[in-house]
Amino acid sequence: MNSKKIVYPYIPNSEPQVQKEMLQEIGANSINELFSDIPEKLLLHKKMNLPKPFLSEYELKRYIESILSKNSTCKENINFLGAGCWQHYVPAVVDEVIHRSEFLTAYAGEPYEDHGRFQAGFEYASMMGDMLEMDVVSIPTYDWSQAASTSLRMSCRITGRNEVIVSKIINPNRLLVIKNYCNPNVNVVMLDFDSKTGLADINDLEKKISNKTAGVYIENPSYLGSIESNGAKLSEIIHKAGALFLVGVDPSSLGVLTPPINYGADIVCGDLQPLGIHMNYGGGVAGFIATRDEKEFVSEYPSRLFGIAPTENGEWGFGDVMWERTSFANRESSKEFVGTAAALWGIAASVYLAVMGPEGMQELGKGIIQRSLYAQKEIGKIKGVKVPVFQAANYSEFVVDFNNSGKNIKEVNKALLKKGIFGGKDLSKDFPQFGQSALYCVTEIHTKEDIDKLVFALKEVF
């Protein structure tokens, strides 16, 4: 009747004899005595109704892998999806470092026993600082949307104002996060875009900006791919109104695109995922925020900031920079919250940048633009398909207009899927003004043959 008690590999003291010894030392008869604080009526008197476990590692592995095998990956297919998560090549050294047990399983130690973690964090901020040409970069937050949301709230705290202007050409899901985060104290006003260029509408900005505006947020390149060309003009208008200029960027583009600080950005944010982090089905995202090294900005970061410090033996030491807010000008005075976010992805990004180096990042950006231009050119040759849609330059993403093709995006993508190709993201719901259009993404992982395959497959659809 009594089956042998299971001794679990992850639970050393599940072994009955050692339990007996420990109970004896405590002076208790059973473990149940030890949680007598929990009232009888709150105790679960039945076993939880969970599936039968896979006790052996072998069976667990077979089970999990059997489920995962139902996935068809971007390696098994050719992927042209972007829209906030991008497929780039992850150098082997990056994975080697972040798979290291020490980095993978460390947490919240001090800069003594976790000296390596602090130094890695400092180097991450430093290398991001070089890409952005900014002197202060935060420890990673959850994702770009959180970084943008926090940047907007920071702009409110710094200026003492409660209204922000946000570009319409951002990922609609990002807008949902921002709206929720600004709710209910911060008023979000939407900024139109020029439908010809896909760039921020300067006239609309001039109309909507006022002395209530804390910050104006655009993305460059925009969600629909256009590289902003009016940076200086935007900066002028924004700063004249006493507001802050916030720009969201894909950091992989900064090898060839100028850092936003050079056209007046005050706070820059974005996602680290393109820098050496696998897509992980959207689970590889991590946000960053960067500003100038001025105490009005530094004191508004909700997150930790690591700084470099001397030690008594002349080594490099590290610690947290602590500076305090001195103004409480308005209701927006809570400094948000800080918690465990995405530090390991920060280390991945720093290894990636160190591996790529200055030349690698330049070559990366250049190659992506070239491949993207090539794809646009070749796809544009297909009858009934229009690309480019905007009169603007692109980085890796561009819109393809299928309105005259006789097929909707759903049908196109289904047909492509049959050929082992993931077509661009369907924009018809989020941007109905463009009808049946899709957002395509080309990066350094696409060879000429991959692009040619896409073009050929598209031709076959129509």
Binding site: I11, N13, F54, A106, M131, Y281, G317, F337, Q370, A393
Partner: protein, 521 residues
């Protein structure tokens, strides 16, 4: 067998900052070249960018070769103390437990890593199934009805809960009336900080003499302005609030909601649930109780659970199962949703590890996890309280669940050695501990949480280490004052980090302010 103390020394590479290893022109990787045909067709690409937007100078990243990059970062990893390396029971509230290595094989497989979130759902059925089944597991573990896997950490989960609470009252036209959230001083600080972002006013309850949140105080502050109670239970002291159901009733009677912060769930699995305590919302840290590694501070996951009446407000999308067609799908059709709190669907690798962990243990295994967590905690509690100078917060309250907050107050009075001196000395033995969140209500605190991953011998070793340090505190205090002696670095002078003129958060900032080694420019 008397426990032998190790003659430990941390790895000490005296590693330069990576920029000091720079050698112009070196390459650590070569990037795939663009096909000649492409260049012929479209040119150099850069010319297509408006001039004002072209990067003028190369980014000032360090240039190294591949072996040098690897070596540098491996040095840094060796100077980091991961769970895998030590008896990591000193980081109370963090639930530092074994992160099974088999999980790494799952998350590193291409079937996870090379998946794009916007792929056609027919190609991602495996991950959708994992997400759906994970939710089902947690429904049973918590007793609640619906989960969102989105939030990227515990504090993020609390923030999401605050948004759900707001949406709930907005739907009833009460969002302006109900603007207060009640929490306790020993709950996680984010239980107060995150709702503030949502615009809530916070009321904090202090413990009674027994170490539990004061229920009489709760009665005094609950009103028709109460939106919710957000409470961690057991609290960071390790004390389980046995009146938790009464707390919930008092708040519900006034029309408020109850949110259960389950950061400290490791001692409750299969023993008691949010449902039986009548809570409406909860969250779990998958990177604590549910075995996903902490990653130096993330990626993490704080999945949120709710009862049916709040389910419609959850962020989009949720994962559902179409029984008829045997398909898992992402459901965006949720008009009452608060929108989103996170990009995409959640931190997939972390969720996958939690799923695998639960599936490897089952209901009995989870129960054993908590049984042993409680056993380990009570065992070490007995031994630590036998050490000279140690006391427990709220000593008259005898019971603790999975962790304990202790105090060195007596030792400090008798020797002048404080908790931070001991903290620096314990690094010399290959482990560490954590004190407490601020404010330090308990003087000279330290918080110990021996999760189920540690053996009796492990615990005995940790106790022996502290025993040795206590001895030194009374007999050779200087050893502690000057500690650490065997760390990767010597005493750090944190002075520069308070002064805007002196701090440097990046290397470029450092070069602007200093020459050589902290020589002011």
């Amino acid at each position: 067998m008397k426990t032998k103390l190790r003659n430990y020394h941390a790895v000490c590479w005296d590693e330069p900052i990576i920029y000091e290893l720079n050698r112009n022109g070196e390459r650590a990787i070569l990037v795939p070249e663009v096909d000649k045909k492409i260049t012929e067709t479209v040119g150099d690409g850069i010319s297509s960018i408006p001039k004002s937007m072209r990067r003028k100078n190369a980014p000032q990243l360090p240039a190294l070769s591949q072996p040098q990059v690897l070596r540098h970062f491996l040095h840094l990893s060796q100077e980091t103390l991961g769970i895998d390396f030590n008896i990591d029971i000193g980081q109370g509230t963090c639930t530092m437990k074994y992160n099974p290595k088999i999980h790494e094989q799952f998350v590193n497989s291409e079937k996870v890593a090379e998946m794009h979130p916007y792929q056609d759902e027919s190609t991602s059925q495996g991950l959708l199934e994992i997400m759906y089944k994970t939710e089902q597991l947690f429904k049973e573990i918590s007793g609640l009805d619906r989960f969102s896997l989105h939030p990227g950490g515990g504090s993020h989960g609390i923030y999401a809960i605050s948004s759900l609470i707001y949406a709930y009252f907005k739907s009833r036209g009460e969002e302006d009336k109900r603007d207060e959230i009640i929490t306790t001083i020993f709950s996680h600080p984010s239980d107060a900080a995150a709702p503030k972002v949502q615009g809530y006013k916070i009321i904090i309850i202090y413990p009674d003499d027994n170490g539990c949140p004061d229920i009489e105080a709760l009665k005094k502050v609950v009103s028709e302005r109460t939106a919710a109670l957000l409470i961690t239970n057991p609290e960071d002291t390790g004390i389980y609030n046995s009146k938790i159901a009464e707390f919930a009733k008092i708040v519900h009677d006034s029309g408020g909601l109850c949110g259960y912060d389950q950061a400290n769930a490791n001692g409750l699995l299969g023993i008691t649930r949010a449902k039986e305590a009548n809570f409406d919302l909860t969250f779990f840290n998958l990177h604590k109780t549910f075995s996903s590694p902490h990653g130096c501070g993330g990626p993490a996951s704080g999945i949120v659970g709710v009862t049916n009446k709040l389910a419609k407000f959850l962020p989009v999308p949720v994962v559902d199962y179409d029984k008829k067609n045997n398909k898992y799908f992402l459901d965006y059709d949720r008009p009452d949703s608060i929108g989103k709190v996170k990009d995409f669907y959640g931190v997939i690798p972390v969720i996958l590890r939690a799923y695998a962990w639960i599936m490897s243990l089952g209901a009995e295994g989870l129960r054993e996890v908590s049984n042993v967590a409680i056993l380990n905690n009570n065992y070490i509690m007995k031994k630590l309280l036998e050490l000279r100078g140690v006391s427990m917060a709220f000593p008259e309250h005898k019971h603790r669940i999975e962790q304990v907050r202790y105090s060195w107050e007596k030792l400090t009075k008798e020797t002048g050695i404080d908790t931070e001196d001991i903290q620096r000395r314990i690094f010399d033995f290959g482990t560490h501990y954590w004190t407490s969140h601020e404010p330090w209500l308990i003087p000279q605190p330290f918080t110990i949480e021996p999760s189920e991953s540690y053996s009796k011998d492990d615990i005995d070793e940790f106790v022996a280490i502290l025993g040795q340090i206590v001895k030194e505190a009374y007999e050779e205090p200087k050893k502690l004052k000057d500690a650490p002696h065997k760390s990767s670095v010597h005493h750090i002078d944190h002075d520069v980090l308070d002064d805007p003129a002196k701090w440097a958060i990046t290397w470029r900032a450092y070069k602007k302010k200093y020459n050589g080694y902290f020589q002011r420019k």
